[in-house]
């Protein structure tokens, strides 16, 4: 059993998905989903504990050895991302029960859970596989189920948002598959480790083009500025649970794919010395931080505001990568986790507002702190973390990011990172001021959100502070992962 953990990681949600769709009862479907996500989390944690000593788990699917068969490969990097994805899944699904009841029809609910499980399965699959084509397949599984999930949003604009995401996502996927095809053409293998071994010897223009296709395709998936256009609408109009889930996982996994392709497949030397990838990523990352944060300040819909903030946060992560140092990469990886818990908490708080008030526009939040004190306090606490107040996880990310920039003598970059924080103050403050300093004008029967929503929300808020007060674990794992990716392991 323990030897088969890698495949179970994918199989559990994959098998649970059709069951959830078939039971037709939304309560039962929900229960199955919760069980499956918690089982996934348990597996992910076991895997992380296994590879924490620095080892790598290699699992040949069906006993077919690589490069003929598909290989699953778990090292610190992938185990770290698996835990984040499964962990967010495990926190979001209990929350889904009430939120879905409010936002999604009885008939659609089992299908919703099924799609959620498929999406989780796809994201976990992307992370665990060691085969580029298999990665593409899982990418499509997660994307297609994500389109469906977004389209289920309570607002009709969700359909348009999902359509936009579908078109952009498909373009991205096409770019990725073209890149994979070219690599296969040149090397005859799809296994990542094999590719890494063979690519330096073949070289040539095809490899260069393949790299470019992959970089653009993945950037689209992770919503790197200026390829982020699909994201704000998708996050704003998706069901609350889906927004929280996707915001904390989907772009993170795309980020992971970028790391894998850049560092594990092509290698640092090719990516940064031959291709000068950092000169493409660094300016885009900075523009993403500044432009998206500034746009966020002017949003009236808070979910949209947070979506633009996500684009900015992706900028931070990419910034870390473009530094191409251990500190920079550690910062990027740290922010992968930290941003997941920050945005998760914030979007869950907005889900609770949606549940009670039926709107997430700033006007609807006037004076809401008196009616929903716990929810708004969670939002403000999450906001602190987003800004990067000391003793929150956001501070930890900022610290390493700025440190990384300074180590590379990039003063201006360090300064821009902090300016991004200030813009975060501005947009979080807008919401906090409305909630705390205006008089309540809404319906009289609006009360605090039920415990079913508050508990998962606050679990993430507490995580924000717990890992901010003692970041040794996350920093340790992230640094180990960064060293692994850069090939400078201790």
């Amino acid at each position: 059993m323990i030897n088969h953990l890698p495949i179970l990681q994918v199989i559990v949600p994959l098998m649970a998905a059709p069951v959830a769709a078939l039971v037709r009862k939304r309560g039962v479907a929900w229960f199955i989903t919760v069980l499956a996500t918690w089982a996934s989390l348990a597996i992910a944690v076991l895997l992380l504990l296994d590879v924490r000593d620095g080892g790598t788990i290699r699992y040949a699917l069906g006993g077919w050895a690589a490069p003929w068969g598909i290989e699953y490969r778990v090292d610190t990097v992938s185990a770290y991302v698996l835990v984040i994805v499964a962990g967010i899944g495990a926190i979001v699904t209990p929350y889904a029960l009430l939120s879905v009841r409010r936002e999604i029809g009885v008939k659609q609910a089992p299908l919703f859970y099924s799609a959620l499980l498929l999406c989780l399965c796809g994201l976990l699959g992307i992370t665990i596989t060691g085969d580029v084509f298999n990665l593409f397949v899982f990418l499509e599984i997660s994307s297609i189920s994500a389109y469906a999930l977004i389209a289920m949003g309570p607002d009709r604009r969700a359909l348009h948002a999902a359509y936009k995401y579908l078109i952009m996502g498909s373009i991205g996927a096409t770019f990725i598959v073209i890149g994979i095809g070219m690599m296969y053409m040149m090397t005859g293998t799809l296994n990542m480790a094999d590719l890494a071994r063979l690519l330096p010897s073949v070289g040539g223009r095809t490899v260069t083009v393949a790299f470019a296709f992959l970089a653009v395709g993945i950037s689209l998936k992770l919503a790197l500025f200026p390829l982020h256009q699909w994201l704000p609408d998708a996050y704003a109009y998706a069901p609350s649970t889906v927004t929280a889930f996707l915001a904390s996982t989907a772009t993170k996994v795309a980020f992971y794919v970028l790391l894998r392709v850049v560092f594990s497949v092509f290698g640092v030397v090719f990516a940064f010395e031959t291709m000068s990838l950092h000169w493409a990523l660094l300016p885009l990352a900075i523009v993403a931080v500044l432009f998206a944060s500034l746009t966020a300040v002017y949003q009236g819909n808070v979910k949209r505001l947070l979506a633009y903030s996500s684009v900015a946060q992706i900028g931070y992560m990419i910034l870390g990568v473009s530094l191409a140092t251990v500190t920079g990469l550690t910062a990027g990886l740290l922010h992968l986790f930290n941003h997941a818990v920050i945005k998760g908490a914030l979007f869950l708080a907005m889900g609770a507002v949606m549940y009670r008030v039926g709107s997430v526009r700033i006007e609807a939040m006037q004076g809401l702190a008196k009616r929903m004190p716990w929810t708004m306090a969670a939002f403000v606490a999450g906001g602190f973390s987003l800004i990067g107040v000391p003793l929150t996880v956001g501070f930890v990310s900022k610290w390493y990011l700025v440190l990384g920039a300074i180590e590379n003598d990039m003063w201006l970059v360090a300064f821009f990172v902090l300016v991004g924080s200030l813009l975060a103050v501005a947009y979080i403050w807008k919401v906090a001021e409305a909630a705390y300093f205006k008089d309540y004008i809404g319906d009289l029967d609006v009360r605090e959100a039920p415990l079913g929503l508050l508990v998962p929300m606050w679990a993430l808020v507490v995580a924000n502070f717990y890992f901010g007060v003692d970041a040794n674990l996350t920093v340790g794992v992230a640094r180990q992962a960064a060293e692994l990716l850069l090939g400078v392991g201790p």
Binding site: G388, P390, K398, W399, V402, F415, L422, V425, V469, G476
Partner: protein, 494 residues
């Protein structure tokens, strides 16, 4: 060795941070019973002062109690360490908290303020943060408490919840947060990257790291402007904005705890991060010191133009804060000695002035200086105390400010900066005029609208006691500056 109540010294440092928080909790619990609530505030402030005082002996004997609270990042602990400069700041803040609490009771009731429980609660939390600032063992800890102090004073600034208060609150938070994040945090991380540590160490941590003169100058400028609470121009606008708060807030927080946390941080960075010898060797402060000098003069000039009493005091505060910044940046024994002593001297002087302003507002409902003609005859105690406070700020005997200004002047000469000495002199003259105008008008001019009874009486008793105490303290500090001198000697001697 154990001190007060059997507390070991490191625990006493922790207690200093926790006691006000605990007091805040009591205030919240007793919110419905005003008398007991105020008793709780007074009790905790007295207790806090005793605990801080219990650290004085050991620190003078050379003890440096230290307590690690947490280690969020590897190699970056949050810890408290009591050293003489911090103790001086803590002593000033904690002793004035008692007096201010006394004063607040009269003021808040006399003025029929709303939400008094919230007021006392955040007041206590702010003091806790100020204690944290005072006892921070490294820059990271300092930054944490510094930001906490900004955030927990925000509800006090916006206490009246009017549109004006909200606007002022935005300026307050905007300037303090943006300078601290964009400049101060950058400087802290830069320091860490240079020195591999951010701890406060006698002699500094930057010497020997290979930081060039230019780097040191930029870094120092980032600290001076990044510590927005020191209100060096052009980042001073938050201080006048904060004057919309009730007067006790202006008095303790915006004349003592918050602004002093700012200049204290500047001093601490100069002494324990850079090390003053490093500053003189590299000439790091050559340019930025003129920003402080300009602030001293410009703020004095602006103060002249203000008819609103609190606004004038606010600009006077900005000017006086830069005296301390200047002292720190002079980077010699006298400058730092004078700067450190001025923390205490200015605190006692300025709080008296603010108490006076508040007393006038409560008793006579007057806020503009031009309306205060002849008021001195009906409110002799208030204006008498005001006069003493003003003397201390100006820096003439028999008030404490004379000492600190004397040492600051010596500092400029030691550094060979005659220009700066001229700045200090000119500013003192300006201060003399704009501050003494107020009691002079009150005592020697006759009230507008004839001599008839105006029904104006002296301020509430607790407020009068408070401002008399602080005025007396200013005089005592002139006669007995030894404790301050001893503490600061330990700072510069190390």
């Amino acid at each position: 060795m154990t001190g007060l109540f059997g507390l070991s010294e490191p625990m006493a440092a922790l207690a200093a941070v926790l006691i006000p928080l605990f007091g805040g909790g009591l205030v919240l619990a007793l919110g419905k019973r005003p008398n007991r609530r105020e008793a709780a505030t007074l009790g905790t402030s007295g207790l806090l002062f005793l605990v801080v005082l219990s650290l004085l002996g050991p620190v003078l004997d050379g003890a440096r109690p230290r307590l690690v609270l947490a280690e969020p990042l590897p190699g970056l602990p949050i810890y408290l360490e009591v050293e003489p400069l911090g103790l001086l700041f803590a002593l000033v803040a904690s002793s004035l908290w008692i007096v201010t609490s006394l004063y607040s009771i009269g003021y808040m009731r006399g003025h029929h303020e709303k939400n008094q429980t919230r007021f006392y609660l955040f007041f206590a939390v702010a003091i806790s943060a100020a204690m944290g600032v005072a006892f921070s063992g490294n820059l990271f800890t300092l930054f944490f408490f510094y930001e906490a102090l900004t955030l927990c004073t925000f509800p006090l600034v916006t206490h009246h919840q009017t549109e004006a208060a909200r606007k002022a609150g935005r300026v307050y938070l905007g300037i303090l947060l943006s300078t601290s994040i964009a400049f101060q945090l950058l400087a802290i991380i830069w320091t860490y990257s240079l020195a591999g540590t951010v701890e406060f160490r006698p002699g500094g941590i930057l010497a020997g790291t290979g930081a060039s003169g230019t780097v040191a100058a930029i870094l120092l400028a980032l600290y001076v402007f990044g510590i927005g609470k020191a209100a060096v121009m052009p980042f001073h606008r938050w201080l006048p904005a904060a004057m919309v708060a009730p007067t006790p807030v202006s008095a303790l927080l915006h004349a003592v705890a918050v602004v002093k946390a700012g200049v204290f941080s500047v001093l601490k960075v100069c002494v324990y991060t850079f090390g003053w010898e490093f500053i003189t060797d590299t000439g790091a402060s050559d340019l930025v010191i003129w920003a402080a000098a300009a602030t001293i003069i410009l703020a004095s000039l602006v103060a002249f133009t203000k008819d609103n009493l609190k606004a004038r005091l606010a600009y006077s505060t900005i000017s006086q804060l830069s005296y301390i910044v200047l002292g720190a940046l002079l980077a010699n024994e006298w400058g730092i000695l004078g700067g450190g002593m001025h923390i205490a001297m200015h605190a006692f002087g300025k709080i008296t002035l603010f108490f006076g302003a508040g007393a006038i507002m409560v008793a006579a409902h007057k806020t503009e200086i031009s309306q205060m003609k002849g008021l001195g005859r009906t409110m002799p105690i208030t204006f008498g105390a005001f006069f003493v406070g003003a003397l201390s700020i100006i820096g003439v005997p028999p008030a404490g400010g004379a000492w600190s200004k004397w040492f600051l002047g010596l500092g400029t000469l030691e550094a060979g900066q005659v220009g700066l000495l001229a700045v200090l002199m000119v500013s003192s003259l300006l201060t003399l005029v704009y501050l003494l105008e107020i009691p002079v008008k009150a005592f020697f001019l006759s009230p507008e609208g004839g001599k008839g009874s105006t029904g104006i009486k002296e301020a509430p008793l607790t407020s009068l006691i408070a401002l008399t105490l602080t005025a007396l303290a200013s005089i005592i500090l002139f006669l007995q500056p030894k404790i301050l001198y001893d503490l600061m000697s330990l700072v510069v001697g190390s």
